[in-house]
Amino acid sequence: MAGLATVFGSGAMTNSIPEIENNDLLFVIGSNTTETHPIIGLRMKKAYRRGAQIIVADPRKIDLVRFSAIWLQHRPGTDVALLNAIMHVLLKEKLIDKQFIADRTEGFDAFKKSIEDITPEKAEKITGVPAKDIVKAALLYGKAKRPAIYYTMGITQHSHGTQNVFSVANLALMTGNLGKESTGVNPLRGQNNVQGATDMGCIPNQYPGYQRVDVPAIRQKFAEAWSTELSPKPGLTATEMVLAAHEGSLKALYIMGENPMISDPDMQHTKKALQSLDFLVVQDIFMTETARLADVVLPSSCFAEKEGTFTNTERRLQKVRRAVTPPGLAREDSSIIMDIAGRLGSEMRYNCMEEVLQEIGGLWPAVAGVTYGRLEEAGLQWPCPTPDHPGTPYLFKGGFPRGKAAFTPVSFEPSKELPDADYPFILTTGRQLFQYHTGSMTRRVPELNEVAPEAYIEIHPDDARELGADDGEMLRVSSRRGSIKLKARISDRPARGLVFIPFHYHEAAANMLTNAELDPVCKIPELKVCAVRVEKETGR
């Protein structure tokens, strides 16, 4: 999100889900949409049936490839090289929007220079994608009338994730494919309210509504609203907090509904870090792997037990309603937070959750027009500044929040850990359809667990043959950080030399293996590329 916010001044999906079916071209890069966002996947299939063409760029033969006009199987971590070559072709073929570039962007000339010699042939050497396919994809995107780009963590979870996002943005900017219906740049958010948590300022450098903590006037506004002094110093990101805990500078951690033990890279390191804290509080609905380490565990309520709102990936606020009462003594997260605040001598009292939303609207104009009453009818997409505003299905119609959008020259940088003689395979991690994130919810649903009971490693048939491994046989997978064993799933989904492990399973946690190397700008870990060794597990 930091990447898009830098380029446009706002980081979110520029279009909405219903607009997908009117795309005439979908460029899906680094997103296994039909498994990670199944219902958005359905809209993509609907677009396909209505005649849209789909370009899939993914190191794995994901299900969406069945519907694609062309599949670019690039090596993991080579997205920038691929995108730069596509843009090189667009430039050469004059498929760029000069008017848009002149009126609404800046920095084009420097950017243009940066891709002048990135030919498809050069990119073929880096990405493994045939030059003619790169040209074909470029022409498809360049000639489309309503093309949109969709990406997920396949773009962002890299040590150069921000660069990848810049590159995606460059592509949309040079072709003028922004600020119009059914045309734009769409990062698909992976969790029900990850957009909302970011909007609400649960990020270390910004208050609610992407307002920076280090700008005095903004800080003043929040300090007045909250009747207290506020720190001007940007805080630590989640991954930095784990590092700080390990070093000893972070002493206490309060975790509400997260399970970093499973979701963070390099599990051994995460465990040591959390154990070295003086005090760890975990508030959750289950005894997660993280909660086991906590000094105090607080039982909280799940989505079906509370009132409030979620904001989905297309910036749409929707109502969450109480259907059942929480079990035992479990309480709502909001009431727990207010109670702790009270015990620390700060009154945080609200009679109902709508009062909280009203307070948010007073501090962030983009949601000032949203009320629970309006949400009874249907969701509302921010910006929605006034009570009679209908919400905003697509962004940047009249211009970019930062004025002119910025081109950013990006050059290809390899991932931090590449295969070598000791660790010859590239491991990439992700989700599968039947499980969700760290599995604390889905693994407690017997039916889901029955069809997806255990971890597996997807491996190409030729690689499996070389190892002498059969389908379903136990394999040991090791990286420089750890080692796990799990069943082989022989499949032509990954390319040769690439293996895939879903990260939902604590007993064979993919994040025992992954690299905690961070993107320098947004601190996202490199979960999509690390080097591993795969061996037959002997003596099982």
């Binding site: 966002h37 948590a197 907090m241 805990a245 206490a252 565990v297 889901l448």
Partner: protein, 346 residues
């Protein structure tokens, strides 16, 4: 635009509209079993027949486009007699076990039998007998209740793009099944269950959890991925007994296996029910007062000794906006640090 009259009422519709859609747009009911507004018209159940002046046989309104100045009658004694006969024929090969059927009270076939007063059947005869059970964990398939409307086949192909099932065999032996009549092995989205007009397809987890009586329906938003699908939770006695979705929302009524079948974690025995405090490496149960007092005193001491930046908070992409707002406000305004983040990057 084309003009037509339906039961004497003047109706105007765009070219290409079917008679069925024209009638429904004018709030004139026509019974159907195989029609679904988001699927291609099928003309299979024949219940939607209507009379059109100038055509000397009944036509299926779901597959017949409106022509200019058409005169349509949706209900005449002859049409209604035929509809009743069609229902009798369908019910002559349908188990009469509404009293134990999951779908009772929410079944299109039952509803039509009620309105047309079909009880005794003139066409008693041979019945299909399917004893095989499908062992997949999600979807109960009772093929004796199947009326071969084909909605499940069409939704699987046209919406889900999977094509896991189709009609096999012909005539009396026709049945809907996966290839080679194996157990269902698909994405288990349950789209087929949501469109089935009878009790042929149901969620296995719903069995004997409660039908329509005493069930409250609460609309909310799915807790899984970022699509933000609308869920309708069907609640009986403080328990979610099944999940459906309204079709007028961004997900158009479609769900994935997690959204449709992944709700039972809410009532899992593993749910945390009481605060816990760790002593000598072991968690013991504690009261809220004890747990919260401990938290307040430890945070306060650590803050005083090491400064507020020695404390961090991780909020949750699973929690609501309001909770996330309160959490960061707590960290910033009460603790005094900007060390607050969530798992956006993971």
């Amino acid at each position: 635009m084309l003009h037509l009259t339906i039961n004497g009422l003047r109706v105007t519709v765009p070219e290409g509209t079917t008679i069925l859609d024209a009638a429904r747009s004018a709030d004139i009911p026509i019974p159907t079993l195989c029609h679904h507004p988001k699927l291609t018209p099928y003309g299979g159940c024949r219940l939607c027949i209507v009379e059109v002046k100038g055509i000397n046989r009944p036509v299926t309104s779901c597959t017949t486009p409106v022509a200019a100045d058409m005169e349509v009658a949706t209900t005449t004694p002859a049409i209604e007699r035929m509809r009743k006969t069609i229902l009798e024929l369908i019910l002559s090969d349908h188990p009469n076990d509404c009293m134990v059927c999951e779908k009772a009270g929410d079944c299109t076939l039952q509803e039509l039998a009620y309105f047309y007063g079909v009880s005794d059947n003139r066409f008693e005869g041979e019945r299909r007998c399917y004893t095989g059970k499908d062992h997949n964990p999600f979807i109960g398939r009772d093929m004796e209740k199947c009326i071969l409307c084909g909605k499940c086949v069409r939704v699987c192909e046209e919406v889900q793009g999977v094509g896991a099932i189709d009609i096999a065999y012909r005539g009396f032996n026709a049945k809907i099944c996966p290839p080679f009549e194996k157990d269902l092995s698909c994405e288990f989205c349950g789209q087929c269950v949501s469109v089935c007009p009878t009790g042929a397809l149901t969620g296995k987890a719903w069995t004997q959890r409660g039908r329509q009586k005493d069930v409250r329906e609460i609309d909310t938003t799915c807790p899984y991925c970022g699509c933000g699908c609308s869920l309708t939770l069907h609640v009986r006695r403080n328990e979610i007994v099944r999940v459906s979705s309204r079709d007028d929302t961004i997900n158009e009524g479609w769900l994935c296996p997690k959204g449709r079948f992944g709700y039972t974690f809410v009532h899992s025995r593993d749910r945390l029910k009481t605060p816990l405090i760790k002593e000598k490496g072991v968690h013991r149960e504690a009261s809220w007062d004890e747990a919260l007092d401990l938290i307040a005193s430890r945070l306060s001491k650590i803050g005083k000794k090491h400064g507020p930046d020695a404390i961090g908070g991780l909020s949750s992409a699973r929690c609501t906006n309001e909770e996330n707002y309160l959490f960061q406000k707590f960290m910033r305004a009460v603790i005094g640090t900007n060390n607050v983040d969530h798992c956006a990057r993971l």
